[in-house]
C-alpha cells in the first residue's frame, strides 16, 4: 500500500470555465493512508478540484498524479483504483439497496462468488442488511450516504474521494460516518474529503483551506493554528452587541465573530499589546468585559486566511485604481 509517500500530488492545478477561474494554481501533497480535508465555502473549487483529481475534468493547466498515474493520460486505469462519492446521491433511486450494490460489483467486474460475498459484507458493515430490499430513493439521508460509501468502497479502492459526504446527514450519523472513515484509513486507504463543517475539518490528519479557487493554507489542524498570521482575542461581555459596536471601527481588527456572549476578535500577529488595545477600546465605551488571548481554533484560521486574502485583494484593486 505504501508504494508512494504521497498518494496524490498536484502542481499548479488550474481550471477555468470561460472567464471564471474555479481552481487557481493549486499545489497539493496528500500523504498515503491519511485523511485529507478540503475546507472551504460553497463555490470555492472543492468539487472541481476533486473532479480533476478523479480524471473527470481536464485541468486547464497544471498536472496531477494520483497513485503515480497521470490524471490526464491514465484516467481510465485510475478508475479501477479510486472510489468517488459524489456530492449529490448518484446511485439509482429506483433500484433496491442490494440491486445497486450488485450493479456496482458487476460494473467493477468482480468475479461471481466474490460479488455475492462482497455485497453481503458491505450490507452488514454499513448496517444496511435489513434495508437490502428497500428502494434507494426511499432511504433517509444517512442511509443513502452509507449506501453511497458502501458503493464507493466496494472494489477496495486505494483512494477515496468524498465530495461533501455529510451535507444531508444528522449529527449522530455524521459521527458514525467519521468512525467508518478512520477505520478505512487504518486499513490503508487514503481519503480525500471536502467539507464546510469546521468540526469535520478538525478531524482530518491534514487539510487545505480553499477560498475562491485558491489554496490559502494547508497543514495539520494544529499546524494551521500555530502558523496563522493572526492572533485571537476572546471577549466575553454581557452585552456582546455593544462590545462589537465599540470594536468595529478599530482599523487593526480584521474580523469579529460572535458566539453567544463571546466575541472572537482577530488581529494581525504583528499588532503588539493586542489585549491592551481591546481593553482600552471597550473601556472607552464603558463596557465591562473579560478579555484574553486564546489559541486559534480552525474557524479562526479559516476566517483569518480568507479575510486576509480579501483585504489583500481589496488593497490590490485600490492600487490598480490609483495607477489607472
Amino acid at each position: 500500500m505504501a508504494d508512494f509517500d504521497y498518494a496524490i500530488q498536484a502542481r499548479g492545478l488550474t481550471k477555468q470555465f470561460g472567464s471564471l477561474v474555479a481552481v487557481n494554481n493549486v499545489d497539493l501533497e496528500v500523504p498515503t493512508g491519511k485523511i485529507y480535508g478540503f475546507l472551504g465555502p460553497n463555490g470555492c473549487g472543492k468539487s472541481t478540484t476533486i473532479r480533476m483529481l478523479c480524471g473527470l475534468l481536464t485541468p486547464t493547466s497544471g498536472s496531477a498524479t494520483v497513485l503515480g498515474l497521470d490524471t490526464r493520460k491514465d484516467a481510465e486505469a485510475l478508475k479501477q483504483k479510486i472510489g468517488y462519492m459524489t456530492q449529490k446521491f448518484s446511485l439509482f433511486e429506483d433500484l433496491t439497496v442490494r440491486e445497486n450494490l450488485e450493479f456496482v460489483s458487476t460494473i467493477y467486474t468482480l468475479d461471481g462468488p466474490t460479488r455475492k460475498v462482497r455485497v453481503a459484507e458491505l450490507l452488514a458493515e454499513f448496517d444496511l442488511a435489513d434495508r437490502s430490499k428497500q428502494f434507494a430513493g426511499t432511504l433517509s439521508g444517512g442511509q443513502k450516504q452509507r449506501l453511497a460509501l458502501a458503493a464507493a468502497t466496494l472494489h477496495r479502492p486505494s483512494i477515496l474521494f468524498l465530495d461533501e459526504p455529510t451535507s444531508a446527514v444528522d449529527p449522530q450519523n455524521r459521527r458514525d460516518f467519521w468512525e467508518t472513515l478512520f477505520e478505512l484509513a487504518d486499513q490503508g486507504a487514503t481519503i480525500l474529503v471536502s467539507t464546510h463543517y469546521m468540526d469535520e475539518a478538525a478531524r482530518c490528519h491534514n487539510l487545505a483551506i480553499l477560498d475562491q479557487g485558491v489554496k490559502v493554507a494547508d497543514g495539520s489542524p494544529k499546524q494551521l493554528g500555530e502558523e496563522i498570521s493572526s492572533q485571537v482575542i476572546e471577549v466575553v461581555a454581557q452585552d456582546p452587541n455593544a462590545a462589537r459596536n465599540s470594536l468595529c471601527n478599530e482599523p487593526a481588527i480584521t474580523s469579529i465573530t460572535q458566539l453567544g456572549i463571546r466575541l472572537r476578535v482577530l488581529m494581525p500577529k504583528r499588532q503588539s499589546n493586542a489585549v491592551q488595545l481591546v481593553q482600552n477600546k471597550l473601556a472607552e465605551s464603558g463596557i465591562e468585559a473579560e478579555v484574553e488571548a486564546v489559541f486559534p481554533d480552525l474557524e479562526d484560521v479559516f476566517v483569518a486566511v480568507t479575510e486576509l486574502r480579501r483585504l489583500e485583494e481589496a488593497g490590490r484593486q485600490k492600487q490598480r485604481g490609483a495607477t489607472a
Partner: protein, 365 residues
C-alpha cells in the same frame, strides 16, 4: 469477457428500471394502440358521406333520378334541398356542406343535346381530398339512355394492385410501424440517458471502469426488445383488426425492423449527447418526428413532393423504412430487391453511432 460482463450489468439495470417505470411501460404499449386506432379509423383518404345539398330547378323525372343516383354512390350525404343557388352558396360559406349540386331548369334539354354541361357541382376546394373525391361524382352513370352511358365509359381500365378495396388502413398500418418506432425509440433512448445525467447517475457511471461503447450498447439493447414488442403489437393488430394483408416474409419484416430500430436508437443516443435536459431531448425528438411524419411518404406520396422536400425526405430514416416495410408487407417484395434502402439505413446507423460515441465523453468538461 469483462466487457461483456459490464454490458450485461448495464442491461440488467436498464431492464429493472424499465419494469418499475410504469409511465414508460404504459407508453410502450399505449402509443402503438392509440396511434393505431387513431390513424386506422380516423384517417380515411377514401372519403364517403360528404355533407351535401342540392338545388333542383328542373324538377323533372330525370333530374330526380339524377339526384338519387348521385346519392347512391354514397360519396355524398344529401342533407338539404335548397331553394336557390344563393342559398346553396350560403350553406357552403357557412361550412354546413362541402358539396353543392345545382341542377338548372333546362336539365332535360342539356342532357339530350350532349353539347353542354348538365349540372354544376360546387365543391369546397379548401380540402384537396374532397376535391379529388368530387371527381368521382362526375363519373356517375346517368342511366336514362343506355347508349350514352356506353359512350361515356372510360377507354382506360384501372386495375387496383395490392389494395383492391381502396382501404386506407392497408396503406397506413405498415407506415405506422415506422412512425411509432421513430417516436418511441428516439425519445426513449434520448430521455433515458439525459435523465441519468439530470439525476447525477452519469457522474457515478463515468467514474467506474465502464467504457463508452459498453455503456451505449448496454443502454440500447433493452430498447431493441421494446421496439420488437411494439412491432408485434402493431402488426398483429393490423393483421387481425384492420385486416391488412401481410404478403412478405416475416423474417424480412423482422430484419428491416431490427435495422430501423437500431438506427433510431443510435439517433436517440446522438441526441442524448446534445441535450442537457429531458425537455430538450423531447424537443429534439419532435424536430425529427414531424418532418418524418410529413415527408417520409407516410402521409403524402413521395413523388408528389417538390425536389427540396424530397431531398429532405431522403435524409430521414423513416422514408427508407417506409419503402421497405410497405414493399415487404403489401407487395410481398424480397428485402434484397430493396438493398439500397437497407444500405441507407445502415449508413444512418453507423454515422449516428460513431458520432455519439465520439461526442459522449467520460469526462464532464
Amino acid at each position: 469477457m469483462k466487457s461483456l460482463l459490464r454490458i450485461f450489468a448495464i442491461m440488467r439495470k436498464e431492464f429493472l428500471q424499465l419494469s418499475r417505470d410504469r409511465l414508460t411501460f404504459g407508453m410502450i404499449v399505449g402509443i402503438p394502440l392509440i396511434q393505431l386506432l387513431m390513424f386506422g379509423y380516423a384517417i380515411n383518404t377514401d372519403v364517403r358521406n360528404l355533407s351535401a345539398a342540392y338545388v333542383d330547378e328542373a324538377e323533372t323525372h330525370l333530374s330526380r333520378q339524377f339526384v338519387s343516383e348521385l346519392t347512391a354512390t354514397q360519396v355524398i350525404d344529401l342533407q338539404h334541398r335548397a331553394a336557390s343557388l344563393q342559398e346553396l352558396n350560403a350553406l357552403m360559406d357557412a361550412g354546413r356542406i362541402s358539396i353543392g349540386i345545382f341542377i338548372p331548369d333546362d336539365f332535360d334539354r342539356r342532357l339530350i343535346s350532349r353539347s353542354r354541361e348538365i349540372a354544376q357541382l360546387l365543391v369546397d376546394g379548401t380540402d384537396p381530398i374532397i376535391l379529388g373525391v368530387a371527381q368521382q361524382l362526375t363519373a356517375a352513370p346517368i342511366a336514362f339512355d343506355s347508349q350514352q352511358q356506353a359512350n361515356q365509359q372510360s377507354r382506360i381500365l384501372v386495375r387496383n394492385y395490392y389494395n383492391p378495396e381502396r382501404r386506407s388502413a392497408v396503406n397506413i398500418v405498415p407506415g405506422l410501424v415506422g412512425v411509432i418506432l421513430t417516436m418511441t425509440m428516439v425519445l426513449f433512448t434520448a430521455v433515458a440517458i439525459v435523465r441519468e445525467r439530470e439525476r447525477g447517475n452519469l457522474e457515478f457511471l463515468i467514474n467506474t471502469p465502464v467504457k463508452t461503447p459498453e455503456l451505449m450498447l448496454g443502454k440500447i439493447f433493452p430498447y431493441i426488445v421494446i421496439g420488437l414488442l411494439q412491432l408485434i403489437i402493431i402488426l398483429s393488430l393490423g393483421r387481425y383488426f384492420f385486416e391488412v394483408p401481410i404478403r412478405g416474409e416475416y423474417l424480412h419484416i423482422l430484419l428491416a425492423s431490427l435495422l430501423f430500430i437500431a438506427t433510431n436508437l443510435s439517433l436517440g443516443l446522438l441526441m442524448s449527447t446534445l441535450a442537457t435536459t429531458q425537455f430538450q431531448a423531447m424537443q429534439m425528438t419532435f424536430f425529427i418526428l414531424l418532418p418524418s411524419i410529413l415527408l417520409s411518404g407516410f402521409m403524402f406520396p413521395f413523388d408528389g413532393m417538390p425536389p427540396l422536400a424530397q431531398a429532405i425526405a431522403e435524409v430521414l430514416p423513416l422514408t427508407h423504412f417506409n419503402r421497405l416495410i410497405r414493399g415487404i408487407i403489401l407487395r410481398g417484395a424480397d428485402i434484397l430487391t430493396m438493398w439500397d434502402e437497407l444500405v441507407a439505413l445502415g449508413v444512418f446507423m453507423v454515422v449516428a453511432l460513431v458520432l455519439s460515441i465520439a461526442r459522449f465523453s467520460k469526462r464532464l468538461d
